[in-house]
């Protein structure tokens, strides 16, 4: 039984079938990659997991509870954090504030009217955020304006914002999309480091085979809205079905 | 029954004005992505074009009429408008009588010019700024325009008459076998606006220019990539939108005596119309204009007011709130227009 169980999920947009009978099981403390050619339904699936889309039928269970019909913030409170394709951070705030906000969300829940206390008195939260920044080697950028950083640093900050919540499941939506090779390798290293330091389950949607094979322990191949196979990386490489559907266009 | 028919016509006339203003607003929204709070002021300027022309036509010189004498026995001084001197008494009198429809000829160039200056001088710099800034700067412009008009024309409404041939009433109930009298000019206004609306749609539908503009409304970037200088066309589009507002105003002058703040009064309503119709949807703006005009007229029936007091004052806003909450994109709005 995995921490995330997707069963028989269907989703249509008008006449177009985006997802047809998707079954997926992500085991705890593994890195699970979901790959597939463009238009295979990867993003649609991800959006169904985080509450942005609601499947037409099927079930999505996380940690024994259904996520269907819940809003994104409720799903996050259940323990799923998400990293976006282009880093989504609070560009008008400082780096430390960016990390403090998820700390508050974790401690105080989805809403709390703490309008009179001073942020500076929240020693515990500040410490926690600084610790996290130190973990991702960003403590020197503590008081920088988040929007003025490089893309690589924004990605790093976004990861920090997700990790500081200690999520049970971290969803990564093409974390290296549009990155130069060096940045991609840095991201891979960062993710490996995270994986070594803490027990965490990750689901990665990725296009870049290099990233997938460096990180993933299980791989699900999606084609035309349906999972073809779910296997270990070694077995995926030579799998005839996968080759046919997908790897024809990529170098492995 | 006759009250209902009367209100239906009232609604059509009101709706025509809303639809014309909303059409221009939507054109500017859809093409330039600019929220124009000065659009009501353009409507007002149109109305004052009618006032101006009728004043120009009435500029007179004094002559002594030897055939008539005043009570002291001196020859009577009579004022003769220059137009009667230049074009003959009959033609001159006709021109004065028809000054409102003739003002259309003045309004179009004036509004094109105003629109051009506005777009090049101000709006252009706000394409990339947040909507809040656009709202604020055009709000400031609207204040300036209305204050300028107030300086030249004073604060009081200026009565403007329709041509005498159209100033009476007509029995619109005849075809239903009833006696319902309705001002002729309001019918004229309705047909006029139908022609303008039809003209704008035909222009967008059947000319290359219109095609480019429509494509630009759908996807500005792609059109830009095709190497078409979309900006230049959008400038003209702004002029056209301004003209539509001006035309709406000029012909409305006999219905509502122009005053300097009429623009602000109509602006809020027109915005509501645009939102109900759906931001960026031209047919939506027209449909919502007529719909809200008619609803507003029906709400002012005494029978309706007896059930819900005050409903005539707020019906438009109530409808707008309900529509926005149930159909966020408005009646005919497309996805992704003016949303974050």
């Amino acid at each position: 039984m995995g921490i995330l169980e997707v069963k028989g999920v269907h989703k249509r947009f008008g006449g177009l079938q985006a997802l047809g009978n998707v079954n997926l099981s992500v085991k705890e403390n593994t890195v699970h990659a979901i790959i597939g050619p463009n238009g295979a339904g990867k993003s649609t699936l991800l959006n169904c997991l985080v509450g942005k889309l609601i499947p037409d039928s099927g079930s999505v269970m996380f940690d024994g509870q259904s996520v269907l019909g819940r809003k994104p913030h409720e799903i996050n409170q259940m323990g799923i954090s998400r990293v976006f394709q282009t880093p989504e951070i609070f560009t008008d705030l400082t780096v430390i504030e960016n990390v403090m906000i998820p700390c508050f969300a974790k401690r105080d829940g989805a809403f709390r009217l703490h309008g009179i206390e001073s942020v500076q008195d929240e020693k515990g939260i500040i410490e926690q955020a600084e610790q996290m920044l130190a973990d991702v080697n960003m403590l020197d950028k503590r008081n920088m304006h988040a929007g003025s950083m490089s893309r690589g640093d924004k990605r790093r900050l976004e990861m920090a914002m997700c990790l500081v919540q200690e999520p049970k499941l971290l969803l990564l939506d093409e974390p290296t999309a549009g990155m130069a090779r060096a940045d991609t390798n840095n991201t891979i290293d960062l993710l490996k480091e995270i994986k070594e330091k803490r027990d965490i389950t990750m689901a990665i949607i990725e296009h870049d085979m290099h990233v997938v094979f460096s990180l993933a322990e299980r791989i699900t191949v999606l084609a035309q809205g349906t999972p073809l196979v779910e296997e270990t990386p070694e077995n995926i490489k030579g799998h005839p079905k996968v080759r046919e559907a997908y790897l024809g266009e990529a170098q492995v | 029954m006759d009250a209902i028919i009367l209100q239906l016509f009232n609604g059509l006339e009101k709706g025509s004005a809303y639809a014309l203003i909303a059409l221009g607003l939507t054109l500017i929204f859809g093409t330039l992505g600019v929220v124009n709070f000065a659009h009501g002021a353009l409507f007002m300027i149109g109305a004052f074009c009618a006032v101006t022309l009728s004043r120009i036509f009435q500029i007179s010189f004094l002559t002594e009429d030897p055939t008539q004498t005043d009570f002291l026995g001196n020859p009577l001084q009579v004022e003769t408008p220059y137009v009667e001197k230049w074009f003959g008494a009959d033609a001159g009198a006709w021109m004065i009588d028809y000054s409102v429809p003739l003002s259309i000829l003045l309004t179009i160039p004036v509004m094109l010019l105003v629109g051009y200056v506005m777009e090049r001088g101000l709006i252009k710099h706000f394409y990339k700024r947040p909507h809040a800034d656009q709202i604020l700067v055009t709000f400031g412009l609207a204040i300036v325009l209305q204050e300028v008009v107030r300086y030249f024309y004073g604060a009081n409404p200026i009565q403007t008459t329709s041509p005498s041939d159209y100033s009476g009433t007509v029995n619109i109930g005849a075809m239903f076998g009833m006696q319902i009298f309705y001002p002729v000019w309001r019918l004229v206004y309705f047909f006029f606006s139908a022609i303008v609306i039809g003209g704008v749609f035909a222009f967008l539908q059947f000319t290359t220019f219109g095609m480019v503009v429509r494509a630009g409304m759908a996807d500005r970037e792609t059109v830009g990539l095709l190497g078409i200088d979309i900006d230049k066309r959008f400038t003209l589009m702004f002029g056209i939108a301004a003209s539509v507002a001006g035309l709406a105003g000029v012909m409305y002058a006999p219905i509502l005596s122009p005053n300097y703040h009429m623009g602000m009064d109509f602006l809020v309503l027109s915005f509501v119309v645009v939102v109900v119709g759906g931001m960026g949807s031209l047919p939506g703006a027209v449909a919502a204009g007529f719909l809200l005009g008619i609803l507003q007229s029906f709400a002012s029936l005494n029978e309706v007011k007896a059930i819900i007091p005050g409903i005539d004052q707020i019906i438009i806003y109530v409808v707008a709130i309900v529509i926005l909450l149930t159909r966020p994109r408005g009646l005919l709005g497309r996805r992704g227009v003016m949303e974050e």
């Binding site: 809003k71 906000i101 009179i116 942020v119 500076q120 | 101000l122 204040i143 004052q313 709130i321």
Partner: protein
Amino acid sequence: MLGLNAKDSRFMLIVVALTLLTPFILNPFPADSALAQFNAGYPALMQRFAIYGLMAIGFNILFGLTGYLSFGHAAFLGVGSYASVWMFKLLSMNVIPALIAATLVSGVFALAIGYVSLRRSGIYFSILTLAFAEMCYRLAYSVLTPITNGETGLQITLSDPRILDGAPTSSSLPTPGFFGLKMNAAHTIDIAGWSFTFSVGYYFCAVIALIGFYLSLRIFRSPFGMMLRAVKSNQQRMNYTGLNSRPYTLAAFVISGMYAGLAGGLLAAMDPLAGAERMQWTASGEVVLMTIVGGVGTLMGPVLGAGFIKYCENIFSKINESVLHSWFSFLPDGVEDVVTWIFARFVGEGWHLTLGVMFMLIVTFLPGGLVEGGKRLAARRKKKSDADAAKHPAE
């Protein structure tokens, strides 16, 4: 001090000092000098500085922090005025119940309007608030006449019950007061040609405005304030971080609505009269302008903006052509007439023209308002002095 750090405490003390010394600061010219018309230290005007300053402070919590541009805040101002005049009529001429009622009633209105309007964002939100405010305005003029007294405006009369005050003792209308202190009481001190007026009304408004300022300072520095800035910055990230942005924005909306209602209550406390024209959407536009002129999202900006606009309104409306003629009399005759004519368009009745032009200039060239302008000047000066220091090293 009071939960503020050293820097904010100093800031707060400066604001308090400036506010309390306003009757001096705004009266820099002797009463009989030619420049006395630029004095602004008389009660009615200073009260408006404090009241509109308070309203702008509240508006800034919504617009400055969350970025939601409401075009309907004048409605709350109007509601607050009506509520407090009703308290004067029914309960007592004491301003305390009136102000409490003004704040609470406008808070309830803000809750209802905000609940609906905040389902949309951006331009849709602006238009929804505009529609609601316009609805309130129309209703106040029409069916709600029994409550609002329509075009005449709601006033106090001798025959009002005022159950806490007992039977009227004189035949003139009572004035609002804070327990024994009458709001219209004032004391004038003359010092060597200068004339300073200290009015109870101003100091009362000033104290309330200071409390409002202090609360807004606390909100700015609080986690709640940080969340509001997060709403403005990236709502998507906020939702995916497990935070529900809706109650945050709603709370900000209600708080700013209550500030506006309190300001409306103060207006009524200074002059127990409430009219619907206070609710017109152009009045909402003016509050937006004050906030922008001063500096959106800055603490001090809205207050400065409110003061600046109200001061200009007062001064510009007072100047007339003969004053202008006397100013420009040093110019040659023909030139003088032209210059006077041009300036005359912007003063007196033309004040609104000035307002519109100011609106456009500030939004176009100085979106950060006066506060940003000040910062730019300071930065330029610093740069210059740095450059000077670099030119003359080791002096």
